[in-house]
Amino acid sequence: MTPKLKKSLLYWLLLSPLCVVILLPFGIMFVTALRPRDELFVYPPTWTFSEFRWENFAEMWVKTNFGGALLNSLYVSLTSTIIAIVLSIPAAYALSRYRFSGKGLYRNFLLMTQMMSPIVLVLGLFRLMVHLNLVNSLNSLVVTYVAFNMAFTIWMLQSYFNTIPRELEEASWIDGATSFTSLVKIFLPLAVPAMVVTAIFTFINSWNEFVLALTLIRSQNDYTLPVQIFSQVAGRYQVEWHHVMAATVLATVPVAIVFSWLQRYLIRGMALGAVK
């Protein structure tokens, strides 16, 4: 064994407890999702099963109204991500490029909002939405997700914007560009990686959000995926665990795959920033 191999073995050994904690729920999720119903609660539990029941997914799709919830989730997550990014860009740009009084205060304020759990605010938000006549509308989720995510997106974008040399814009002004042209032709193309990365995080946050969705959405038709899956478990005499797990697989895996693919932007972003 080479010393290098030994080293990596050691590291993996040290990491293995963490891996187990992270991977076990996923393992159970997959195994349960693919089993026939009567093998769910065999004792002692096993990892093996008699057949791969892909039908679980098809049955689940129909029984749990998965399609509708998926569309709701997509609508809420995509819209809130786009709005949050679009609104954050000017804020982050100003924070990164201009000097103005109260800048430090504003940044601290953004940070503070991140220290509060949404649960604390749920009651207030609910009353606000009642007042705005938005309860039971997906748009109430869009608005709150945008609000909750913007502090984070502004921070992320601003720290990336800081790495884009100011001279690039100055050079374009001297070349004859207006501030707007410079923004569109020089600055924003360079900021794409940051926007993609930030969008990924925002999307995942919105996609997984549960507490607010549970509170603000009343009718089953408007449930987002986490709430829909939860509703298959909570308050039932008989929980169809194999369906629940199949739904969970469908709710997590595609998103995980798409985003691990988009990760390349992370790397490209770093490489771009390095060019002077």
């Binding site: 690039l168 050079a171 560009a177 360079l190 002077k276």
Partner: protein, 356 residues
């Protein structure tokens, strides 16, 4: 092409004053170098000419047009930045042509101009590459190309060579100078490297702490530095200074150093007897003397540089440097006599630093 007039220009950042009333007249077709130590405000002044920094007080004109309130894009200037500021997401071709595209020139004219600039700068094989795929020197040339295609009234350079290695810096220095001789565009060039200033400039402006110390041709500054700061700044290795008091005996006037070493000065000097002065002698003017000419020195360190040998020696308790072209072998600890011809001696008032 045009002249640039800077009059009474001040710059404040909040309550901090960075520039204290700068006056410089730059003539049409002139190559002016702003030189000074780090933080003296050179870049700030250049950026004010470029329109990237507001002008707190005073006026800047290009040609006959006062440009205080003209935005950078309408000033008709081109600028080369220290870190080149090439657009990383555009090819070399598009980098050079960006300004032309913004001005809505025809496709054909744009590519003609770019190719012409690329020809001059030896960039033709690299036009399709992105800046990332270029070496430092090539990036520098692209930055030059971007300025070149503009046919601007004034070129501004902010330490364009400081990111290059020593050899390349010397090559590019000559190239920029040759380019200026060819295009004759009025240029303002900022550097903190006095050799760059000396070799490239038609006229040098020496700045210190937000003020202009002296303006003049390179040889003027070298031969007649107006004060201690300029004397120290211009020339490499820099001028030797020995403090003393003006005295005279029957051989003529001299500066008496602390340990009573006799440093001869010219009879024409206007220094008053008893005045506290600083005696300045450039290393290249200190020659090894024989007989009773000059003054005693003890060799401390010897550094051969090739063309010269730098002799560091102790004179009146101070370390001074002399350049010798002789191949004679000296040894540390050896006593020698050094002499500076009276006409090459610089005298400065000890309290004000001004040239006498």
């Amino acid at each position: 092409m045009a002249s640039v007039t800077i009059s009474g220009v001040e710059k404040w950042f909040g309550t901090l004053q960075i520039l204290h009333g700068i006056d410089i007249d730059i003539e049409d077709q002139e190559f002016v170098v702003l030189v000074g130590p780090s933080g003296c405000g050179k870049s700030t002044l250049l950026r004010m000419i470029a329109g990237l920094e507001s002008i707190s007080d005073g006026e800047i004109s290009i040609g006959t047009r006062m440009i205080n309130d003209v935005p950078a894009r309408d000033r008709d200037i081109a600028m080369v930045f220290q870190n080149y500021a090439l657009y990383p997401h555009m090819s070399v071709f598009d980098n050079i042509g960006f300004s032309l595209k913004l001005r809505k020139r025809s496709k054909q004219e744009i590519s003609e101009k770019i190719n012409e600039a690329a020809e001059i700068l030896d960039l033709t094989p690299y036009l399709e590459r992105s800046p990332r795929q270029l070496s430092g020197g090539q990036r520098q040339r692209v930055a030059m190309g971007r300025a070149l295609v503009r046919d601007a009234q004034v070129f501004l350079f902010d330490e364009p060579l400081s990111n290059l290695d020593a050899k390349l810096r010397v090559v590019m220095r000559t190239e920029i100078k040759a380019l200026h001789q060819r295009l004759k565009t009025t240029s303002v060039y900022v550097t903190h490297d006095q050799i760059e200033a000396m070799t490239m400039a038609d006229r040098i402006v020496v700045m210190n702490k937000g003020r202009v110390e002296q303006t003049g041709t390179p040889m003027d500054l070298y031969d007649f530095p107006a004060n201690l700061f300029v004397a120290d700044f211009i020339g490499s290795p820099s001028m030797n200074f020995i403090e003393g008091i003006v005295a005279a005996d029957n051989e003529g006037p001299f500066v008496m150093a602390k340990d009573r070493t006799r440093l001869a000065i010219s009879r024409e000097s206007s220094a008053a007897l008893g005045q506290k002065v600083v005696y300045g002698a450039r290393p290249e003017h200190l020659v090894l003397a024989s007989g009773n000419e000059g003054f005693d020195a003890t060799i401390e360190v010897i550094e051969p540089t090739g063309p010269n040998i730098q002799i560091f020696a102790d004179v009146a308790g101070q370390r001074i440097c002399a350049l010798s072209t002789e191949r004679r072998t000296h040894k540390p600890g050896q006593r020698i006599r050094l002499h500076c011809p009276e006409t090459s001696v610089h005298l400065f008032d000890a309290s004000s630093g001004a040239r006498i």
